[in-house]
Amino acid sequence: MPSPVSTLTEERTQDTPPARPPAPARSFLRGVRSWASVAWFLVPALVLFLVFVLAPIAVAVHTGFFKWGGAGPMEDFVGFENYARLFGDEVFLGDLERGLYLIALSLTVQLPLALFTAALLNRRLRGRAVYRMLFFAPYVLSEVVTAVLFTMILLPGDGMADQLAGRLGLEGLQGRWLADPSTVLPTLFVVMTWKYFGFHMMLFLAGLQSIPGEVLEAAAIDGANAWQRFRSVTLPLLGPTIRISVFLSVIGAIQLFDLVWVMTAGGPNHSSETMAISMFQFGFKRYQVGYASAISVVLFMISLVFSLFYQRYVLRRDLSGAVTTGGAR
């Protein structure tokens, strides 16, 4: 009977000589002992993970079927009513739309900016390390600190943004930034870019550095100009990194909370509200915990479906032997 657990070395380290097969009882006992020692190492992580990561999701699913204010017994079972209400709620549907809008902006503005900066910094250049360190610095700040900083800068009237707009002859923007439903999302996006483009730049730099120089040299010898080399050699080889970067941007947009909560709390008039903000509003400000749980569940389903779909169809080909995976560390 094969022992269910074997260390990499077990065969050679038993005290019984290999010629004599071990008695079944002992083998069973050894199996239990090995299992026990594996369990000893694995259980703390499993318990932590089950209690604080998986159990909350089960709690959310359960609570989402009730109409419940958050205190007292949960008795008012409503089935899928919370979900029906959710998908009839204009604010929630707007959350989805605004999420897509921010994702679209990230993919068309932020990632190209990050890639462009990475390409500039991937050549021999004086002060390269300083630029790199500088561009990445906002990433290590918390979203709250970033949010308060930009709230102050965007203050109507006295803030730097309004003063600057006045001097540049852009009076039309004054007093609007976060206060006007039509400018609030683009303004938030600029702040997100300020904070996160350096992170994507770092990913791209790691990807670029793992592209062997010979490949680009060979293309140059064949007469490809700089743009052609970038378009036909660098970009395809950077594919895995770009796909990861897109994935992280989307997940980031889905869960966006801190920045928006501190800067606008979802306003004015829901025009910058995200799913996480809606969930927080209903769960902690309006005490409709059942409904807020349903939002959590939908948030979870969206991330899960997106992740599985993305890993299945987009990342699959990158999982073995991708250029960037080897060079990243």
Binding site: V38, F52, V53, T117, V140, L149, L248, D258, F300, L304
Partner: protein, 276 residues
């Protein structure tokens, strides 16, 4: 030819300066504004202060509340890091080096955690913590943060543990070294660079967390720096210069940590992203 490449080099630097200005101007503006009085800030928003006023900064640095928030953030970050790294290292050890039934299943279970964001779980987590009586208790922040840190930490550490050759373990076992001693005395010391990387990631994630401390700590004594900054802005919303000074001081620990641990942080993030 040479002139042309000089021009190109200059325009390259011009573009980088432009991007650099986008990053630096808000930070520099905050630092300088912190040295002004609020009256001067509205009258002279861009220039250097006519009179450098250190009072905003020294006032905050002399305030026990600020230091308590720093201490709370630091304590929670250290607790989270120790917990997540210790527990992950043990799990990653068996997941990397032992063949047992269900191993890949366990590993997949942990990697699922990479896929969904913290915001998803925060409301039910709050309900659970309330049931456990962990509200207004640092463990109520430390344990969930540690749990959410597990997937990334396990992925990175397992990858590293796999690179350590089996011969080493064989030799150790021949010399009478048990599993636990091998793990503790040989594997962990060898894995110091990887442990450094995952620790740095855990510290930064914990230091910057806002959502969970906001919910768990009702008692201001436990407030962490991100929660404190937000409260401070609400409290002194008209004293702009004072708020700028607070924001700048709240940034200092994170930036200092970045300056010290730049290599681990960036290495860990790029590795984590590409492997996860």
């Amino acid at each position: 030819m040479k002139a042309r490449s000089r021009v190109r080099g200059l325009s390259l630097h011009a573009v980088l300066w432009l991007i650099g200005a986008f990053v630096v101007v808000p930070l520099g503006y905050a630092v300088i504004s912190g040295f002004k009085s609020t009256g001067e800030l509205t009258a002279n928003p861009f220039g250097l202060p006519g009179h450098w006023k250190a009072g905003n900064y020294t006032g905050i640095l002399g305030d026990a509340v600020f230091w308590r928030q720093i201490a709370n953030s630091a304590g929670i970050a250290i607790g989270t890091t120790c917990c997540t790294v210790a527990v992950s290292a043990m799990a990653a050890f068996v997941l990397a080096r032992y063949a047992f039934r269900g191993r890949e299943l366990f590993y997949t279970l942990f990697t699922i955690g990479l896929m969904f964001p913290f915001a998803v779980a925060v409301l039910p987590l709050f309900l659970l913590l309330r049931t456990f009586g962990l509200l207004d208790n640092p463990l109520g922040v430390i344990l969930p943060q540690a749990a959410f840190g597990l997937p990334m930490t396990i992925v990175i550490l397992r990858g590293f543990f796999r690179t350590i050759p089996a011969e080493l373990e064989e030799a150790a076992v021949m010399d009478g070294c048990g599993k636990f001693r091998f793990f503790w005395r040989i594997l962990l010391p060898m894995a110091r660079p990887a442990l450094g990387t995952v620790s740095v990631l855990a510290v930064v994630a914990s230091w910057n967390n806002f959502f969970l401390p906001l919910l768990v700590f009702n008692d201001p004594r436990w407030q962490t720096i991100p929660v404190g900054v937000q409260q401070f802005q609400g409290q002194y919303s008209t004293d702009y210069a004072f708020v700028f000074a607070y924001v700048v001081l709240a940034m200092v620990p994170a930036l200092a940590f970045y300056a010290v641990a730049e290599r681990q942080l960036i290495g860990g993030l790029t590795a984590g992203a590409t492997k996860g």
